[in-house]
């Protein structure tokens, strides 16, 4: 256990210059359905990547492969120097370094917000309750829900729950944050409070991969915008180029549709 832990804690130092995530020729099937086809992606430390595309294009599946919520069948995924394979021990070690925020928040309903935040630091990071609570309060203040710390998730609005969920991930002090459509389940008036938290996080230098259709957010923080369709990365560009002169016909069509909606 300790040897393995050292391995992960050393990993960032060893890979300081190497990409934090490297995905090579990734292929994934659900039975006969080919969800991801030869996906290649390199993410450097501190990079912010926004992934968009029509529903069913495989974008959520892609980021869920990065913390192995989904298993891939072909290709390599290397996260912080560790290759993701059938070795489950490594997987839970990687997962504690990779935070994830879900569309449906997935807070633990039987625990208060504060307990939601301290659960993993106490049990996984083996922190004392005091230290864990200190960190929890820090992030609760940062996402502006400190006054709700002792409430249960069901007593909070969707926006507040999602901010709590972000804080819960941050309490593990992850090196990478994955966002899987974090604002799609929210009422429109709550989208911005969540995006503001994400922008702040981006400005602090967190490595982020966001599946989202919030193009304003992409423009503002992304280093790279990826458009996926039918399991493939169709286009990968800087936001300036992506929005002003997209190369691919499908990207243009998609952007038009998005603009038509918003």
């Amino acid at each position: 256990m300790t040897a393995a832990e050292e391995k992960t804690s050393e990993a960032p130092a060893n890979t300081a210059e190497a990409p934090i995530i490297e995905i090579k020729d990734l292929n994934k099937w659900y039975d006969d359905f080919h969800v991801l086809i030869d996906v290649n992606l390199t993410v450097n430390r501190g990079e912010k990547i926004v992934i968009c595309g029509p529903s069913g294009s495989g974008k959520s599946t892609l980021i869920r492969c990065i913390n192995r919520l989904e298993k891939h069948q072909k290709g390599d995924i290397v996260v912080m120097g560790h290759e993701l394979t059938e070795n489950t021990k490594d997987v839970s070690l990687i997962r504690r370094e990779v935070g994830m925020v879900f569309q449906s928040f997935n807070l633990f309903p039987h625990l208060t917000i504060l307990q939601n935040l301290t659960l993993a630091p106490i049990w996984i990071r083996k922190m004392s309750q005091r230290d864990a609570e200190k960190i929890a309060w820090k992030y609760l203040k940062r996402v502006n829900i400190a006054e709700h710390a002792l409430k249960f998730p069901s007593q909070l609005s969707g926006g507040q729950q999602q901010r709590a969920a972000i804080a819960r991930s941050l309490c593990m002090q992850p090196k990478i944050m994955l966002f899987d459509e974090p604002t799609s389940a929210l009422d429109p008036e709550m989208v911005n409070e969540v995006l503001d938290v994400m922008v702040k996080l981006a400005e602090e230098g967190m490595t982020m991969l966001c599946v989202t259709h919030e193009m304003g957010f992409a423009r503002r923080v992304a280093d790279q915008v990826i458009f996926m369709d039918e399991g493939k990365i169709v286009e990968s560009q800087s936001p300036e180029k992506f929005f002003s002169e997209p190369e691919n016909e499908r990207t243009r069509k998609f952007l038009k549709q998005i603009h038509a909606i918003s």
């Binding site: 807070l107 633990f108 309903p109 993993a120 998730p153 991930s169």
Partner: protein, 357 residues
């Protein structure tokens, strides 16, 4: 107040006396109910006899509660020797006291308390009730009455819980062999009557034990009941597991929780909340099922009525005995029902979040 009363009278008239036929039916029913109630009050209270030494004090049309009062010790403790009854009381006090840690804030891992119960209860029961370490032995054949009912129920529930949880998890396991074994176990024990299991444990099992090895009947019965009960609990818990959204597992995974801690800290607390009403119901039926041991010659609270009413001084006292036993079962089961309802109200104020997208 008057308005309310008036409204109620009006609704009764509307619901039960709205047509001539309904009115007649209602009157007949009221008459019959009143008749039964009056007869029962007469029998149980007005013509009842509360004191006396033999059934000769009985009055026609009245209950002879003197029988219950005279035999009260046997209803509670069976044929346990009188001079040793303090040992039963010590056992009950110790078992009761062992619940205290559940309510202590300092004890953060209640599951360890539960494990301690699983280990210590049999020792306490074995030491004080059966005797040992200098205490005179009392054969389990003398155990009976409410004490026996309590011991069978408590031990049966205690062990069937963890086994039920494991079976429920096993039935949902990704390992095919574990899944099949769990399913076969559950379906097998749900498919045969409890009486069969009790007969097997009392008659067939000793036959197959190697000579010289004797396992006490009580132990065999508790094991058999645990097998039976855990299969039912497993299905209730499996239902609760299915009600926990997939997102809860994913959130726990993504924070780095592995299976065991994930179940302990995140999934099971939610499952127990969801299933509390069903678990209460199953506990009630389990307690009532323990009465079946009278078939294999054990004298639990119900089974002891017959030998007591065979006392030549108290012949023909079965009705009083059965009604008394029934009343005690009802009080116990009603208390559990209210308790689970209270717990349910307390925990269900927190609906689950995180709808699976």
């Amino acid at each position: 107040m008057n308005n309310k009363l008036y409204g109620r009278i009006k609704s009764i008239r509307h619901d039960y006396f709205n047509t001539p036929v309904n009115a007649v039916l209602s009157l007949v029913m009221i008459f019959l109910l009143a008749k039964v109630a009056i007869w029962f009050v007469n029998w149980a209270f007005i013509h009842a006899v509360w004191t006396g030494e033999t059934s000769e004090v009985a009055r026609p049309g009245g209950a002879t509660w003197a029988f219950i009062i005279k035999k009260f010790r046997f209803f509670l403790f069976g044929f346990y020797p009188k001079q040793h009854i303090w040992r039963i009381l010590v056992t009950l006090v110790l078992m009761g006291a062992s619940f205290v840690p559940y309510f202590m804030k300092r004890v953060s891992h209640k599951v360890l308390v539960f494990v301690a119960h699983m280990v210590l209860w049999p020792f306490v029961i074995g030491l004080f009730l059966a005797g040992g370490l200098g205490l005179e032995k009392v054969s389990t054949n003398n155990w009976g009455g409410l004490t026996l009912t309590f011991i069978l129920s408590a031990l049966g529930l205690l062990y069937s819980f963890p086994i039920g949880i494991l079976l429920a998890l096993g039935r949902r396991s990704e390992q095919r062999i574990i899944r099949i074994l769990s399913t076969v176990y559950i379906e097998f024990f749900r498919g045969i009557p409890l009486i069969t299991i009790l007969f097997m444990s009392s008659v067939v099992v000793p036959f197959f034990l190697p000579s010289g090895v004797a396992i006490d009947k009580i132990i065999r019965v508790v094991i058999g009941m645990t097998f039976f009960q855990s299969a039912y609990l497993a299905e209730v818990i499996r239902g609760g597991l299915q009600a926990v959204p997939e997102g809860q597992y994913e959130a726990a995974d993504s924070l780095g929780f592995k299976f065991g801690l994930q179940q302990y800290l995140i999934i099971m607390p939610q499952v127990l909340k969801i299933t509390i009403a069903n678990i209460g119901g199953i506990s009630i039926s389990f307690i009532k099922d323990t009465t079946l041991v009278l078939i294999i010659g054990m004298f639990d609270l119900l089974g002891i009525v017959k030998p007591l009413a065979s006392d030549s001084n108290w012949l023909g006292m079965e009705p009083e005995g059965l009604i008394f036993a029934g009343l005690v079962y009802w009080v116990i089961c009603f208390a559990i029902s209210r308790l689970t309802y209270k717990i349910e109200v307390k925990v269900n104020t927190l609906p689950a979040t995180g709808v699976k997208a």
